[in-house]
Symmetry: C2
Subunit: 220 residues, 2 copies
DNA sequence: CTCGAATAGTACCGTACGGTACGGTTCTGT
DNA sequence: ACAGAACCGTACCGTACGGTACTATTCGAG
């Protein structure tokens, strides 16, 4: 076998097919995502689909993995940040998070995985969380740790803190977008939302200038 | 027609059938929820199903409406509350919210509506939000207004404030439960979560004892 | 008791899907 | 140039679902 055929990667041809399947899923939902339609739209044969991905589940998993390979994350370069820079980073993260969660492909894949979650043997949901969310979470954790190192915020459990930030940013937007409320998907308001959420986050975890007489929050 | 046959209500027989359909949905997900299986499990005929509910969509909508009719809400009796009582009410609300969202029937119905949300003509998602969430939201709004009247918290926009409370309580739990993460559905931790969320909520919106020097949060 | 409406149970129909098989074509390594 | 693999397009199969039609049975009103 040739050297560029690694087991976990996809050939350019398969890459195109997966991209086409994603477009199909976004356009019409799971009902439209049949093996025959994917094959016809992508100008490939069903036999190739089954040889490449095993079965329909494998195709869906490959679509998730393929999409997850696109998102990139924040990396801590170790450089010090002043408070304005750190706040801007947080706002940027919040804005990106809202934009990613509200994206067409993300919503379609989440709907797909949630629809399959009732069957016990389906691991699509777990796959989506691990491959998609994990990267975002790690980037956010690195950002929070950097903020703590520069003494802009203080916390003990980075995971707890990140989850609070996530809740302040996303609230119930994700579920409502998943349910089909298109009115709230306008990214016009994402800016204000991100600003407000970061304000609230600093109110909870920000270090005061003189002493930390701010509200301390603890897990009971 | 007799007096107890109102147009929007269901007969006891239909009530039982809907209950049976809900059990079926919870047990096996949408794949199992076929008209034939519902009819067989409920000991009724498919013809009756179609006469009562029109088509499959109507049956699903009736299931949502039937389930929504069960949830009851907080009602403001106008009596004054001290701070401890108000905090207990908030914690109770948060705990109930987590328990409702994590319930089997709620998760199954949300998965169902989200799965159908890709089709444009399906209004199940909107129906679920209006009939299910609306009641909870109104109860929470009444509770928050009561807390403001008793000067335990302060805010300007009750909807904004409620959404923040929701985000602090739920975070990403709902979506992850929808995706099938059963580990986080243990209500054992719901108590701690509710306490922590209410602590954070008071840190953001609580009125200080002497003067309100607490963090003011506003929409930019 | 009789009649008619409502219902249970079943059979049926058209359609669509997942998965497999096969002939014809293109690509690739030697 | 040639052989073999990969691949496209299509046909095919078994199954299952949504919805309808029909018969037998139940049940309530007069």
């Amino acid at each position: 076998m040739s050297d560029d055929q690694r087991a976990k990667e996809f050939t350019p041809r398969q890459h195109d097919v997966l991209e086409c399947a994603l477009s199909l899923l976004v356009a019409g939902g799971e009902r439209v995502l049949t093996t025959a339609r994917v094959a016809r739209t992508a100008n490939c044969s069903k036999e190739s689909l089954y040889r490449w991905f095993g079965d329909r589940e494998g195709l869906l998993a490959a679509m998730i993995a393929h999409q997850a390979s696109k998102v990139r994350t924040f990396s801590d370069n170790g450089a010090p940040m002043d408070r304005v820079q750190f706040r801007a980073q947080l706002v940027g993260f919040a804005h990106d998070l809202l934009q990613v969660l509200g994206g067409d492909v993300s919503l379609a894949l989440n709907r797909l995985a949630i629809g399959q979650a009732s069957r016990e043997e389906s691991r699509l949901g777990q796959l989506l969380v691990e491959q998609g969310r994990r990267r975002i979470d790690e980037g956010a954790a690195a950002l929070l740790e950097a903020g703590r190192r520069c003494q802009h915020i203080e916390f003990t459990d980075v995971d707890e803190t990140y989850r609070t930030l996530y809740g302040l940013v996303v609230r119930d937007l994700h579920v409502r977008m998943l349910l089909g409320e298109d009115e709230i998907r306008k990214p016009k308001n994402f800016g204000e939302m991100a600003e407000r959420a970061v304000d609230q986050f600093f109110a909870l975890y920000g270090v005061q200038e003189k002493k930390r007489m701010g509200p301390r929050v603890r897990a009971v």
